[in-house]
Amino acid sequence: MPMDALAIDAEHLARRFGRRWALLDVSLQLRRGEVMMVAGRNGSGKTTLLRVLATAIRADGGRAVVGGFELARREEIRGISALLSHQSYLYESLTALENLDVVSRFCGAPAPSPAMVLERVGLSARADDPVSTFSAGMRKRLSFARVLLQQPSIAFLDEPYGQLDPEGFGLVDEVVAELRSRDASVLIATHQVERVGRFANRTITLEAGRAR
C-alpha cells in the first residue's frame, strides 16, 4: 500500500439478517497506521461491520475498499487482515500450541513461531494443555495470539478487552501500539470508550446500523 493511502474506504455498507438490517448505511475511512474506535450499544451493528470488512460475511449493500482491494476480493483482503472475533476460532480438543501450529501452517509466509507468540500473550505455561481446559480470558489471549501470528496490515478487533483481567488490558494496549508502530491499521469495536478513546485517532459511533 502506498503511503497515505486509505487502509479502509467504505461507503453505505448494509447487511441484513432476515428482516432486520444490522447495518443500514455505514461509511468510514481509515488511514494507514491509524486506530479507529467503533463505539455503540449492544446490537448497534459493531460486530457486523467488522465482519463485513474482514470479509467473514458478505455485504448486502454499499461497497468498500480494504487494503486496496474491493470486498469481492476476499482472499486478498484476508491475506493482509486478521479478525479477532467473539468466536474464539479454537479447536477444543487441541492444545494451545497445536491450535497455533495449525494457523501458522496455513499462514505460509514466514511467520513468528507459535511458541514465541504464546510467550508474548502470557500462555507459555499452558502451551500443552487442551483448550477445553481454558478459561474465557485465556481463550481470548489465545485468540489474540492467532491474530499476531497472521501479522496483519489491518487488524479488526471485536471487543478485545472482553473477558480479560487488568493485565490482559495492558496486553491489548501493547499489541495495538505494536501494530501501529508497524504501520498497520486497527479497527476496534469496544465498550471501553474512555480507554480506547485515549489513543484512537478517530471514532465512529453506530446506532441501529447507522453511523451517527
Binding site: 439478517f17 443500514l24 458478505r58 446500523g209
Partner: protein
C-alpha cells in the same frame, strides 16, 4: 422486483395444455385400438410416456437454472429453479404412481424395479430433499446457493443411478415398462406429450412468479429512511 404488466402467457399455456390433454386422452383411451399383448392396461402409456419426458425436462431445466444461478447470482434463476424442482417432483411422483398402477395388473406386484422407474424414485427423493433443504434455510443467498449446489450434484447423479440400477436389475429378469412397447398410434402420444409440456411450462412460470414475489420481499435493498427494522 417490479413486474409492470403481469403477463397472461402462463395461463395461455395451461389452457392450451389442458386442451391437448383432453383431445389426446380421448383419442388414446377411446379411439386407439387395444394393444396386442397387454390389452387396455397398456393405454396408460399415453400418459406415462409424456409424464416421463416432461419430468426429465423439468429436472434438466432445474439443473440449468441452478448452474445459471451459481454463475450469475441473478434471482430470477433461483425462482425458476425452485419452480422447476417443485413441478419436477410432482411429475416424478405421478410417474411412480402410474408405474405402480401399470405394474399391479401386469406383474402382480406394485413395484417392478424397472430401471427407469427406480431411477425416477431416487430422483424424487433427491429433489424432494432439496425442497426440504430450502425450507430450513432462512437466508435467501444461502438458500439459493445451497439448493443450486445440491441440484447440480443430484442431477449429475442421474445417469450413474440409471446405469447402476440397470446393471443391478439385468442380473435378474429384464422387466419392461409400458414405454418399451411400441404402438401404432403416435398421435395421442404426441398430443399428450405437448399437453403435459404446455401445462408444465405454464405451472413453472406461475410458480416462478410466486417465488419471485416472495424473494422480492427478502432481498429488497435497504430502505432509505427506516430505523433499522422493516415495518
Amino acid at each position: 422486483m417490479p413486474n409492470h404488466r403481469v403477463s397472461n402467457l402462463p395461463y395461455a399455456f395451461v389452457a392450451l395444455g389442458v386442451l391437448c390433454l383432453l383431445i389426446g386422452s380421448y383419442l388414446g383411451l377411446f379411439v386407439a385400438p387395444p394393444e396386442h399383448y397387454m390389452g387396455d392396461v397398456q393405454r396408460i402409456m399415453y400418459v406415462h410416456v409424456p409424464t416421463a419426458w416432461n419430468a426429465m425436462l423439468a429436472m434438466t431445466f432445474a439443473f440449468a437454472a441452478a448452474v445459471m444461478f451459481l454463475f450469475t447470482n441473478d434471482w430470477k434463476w433461483d425462482a425458476r429453479m425452485e419452480a422447476a424442482i417443485e413441478v419436477g417432483v410432482m411429475l416424478a411422483f405421478l410417474l411412480c404412481c402410474q408405474g405402480a398402477i401399470w405394474a399391479k395388473p401386469t406383474w402382480g406386484v406394485w413395484w417392478d424395479w424397472d430401471p427407469r422407474l427406480t431411477t425416477t424414485a431416487v430422483l424424487l427423493f433427491a429433489f424432494a430433499g432439496i425442497l426440504a433443504l430450502r425450507r430450513f434455510v432462512d437466508d435467501p443467498v444461502k438458500r439459493g446457493t445451497w439448493s443450486a449446489v445440491a441440484t447440480v450434484i443430484a442431477y449429475a447423479d442421474v445417469p450413474i443411478v440409471y446405469y447402476s440400477v440397470r446393471w443391478w436389475n439385468s442380473l435378474h429378469q429384464m422387466q419392461s415398462s409400458p414405454a418399451t412397447v411400441s404402438s401404432a398410434f403416435h398421435l395421442p402420444l404426441r398430443l399428450n406429450a405437448f399437453g403435459v409440456l404446455f401445462l408444465m411450462t405454464g405451472f413453472i412460470m406461475l410458480r416462478a412468479r410466486i417465488a419471485s414475489l416472495r424473494l422480492a420481499e427478502e432481498i429488497a435493498p435497504p430502505p432509505a429512511d427506516a430505523l433499522g427494522e422493516l415495518a
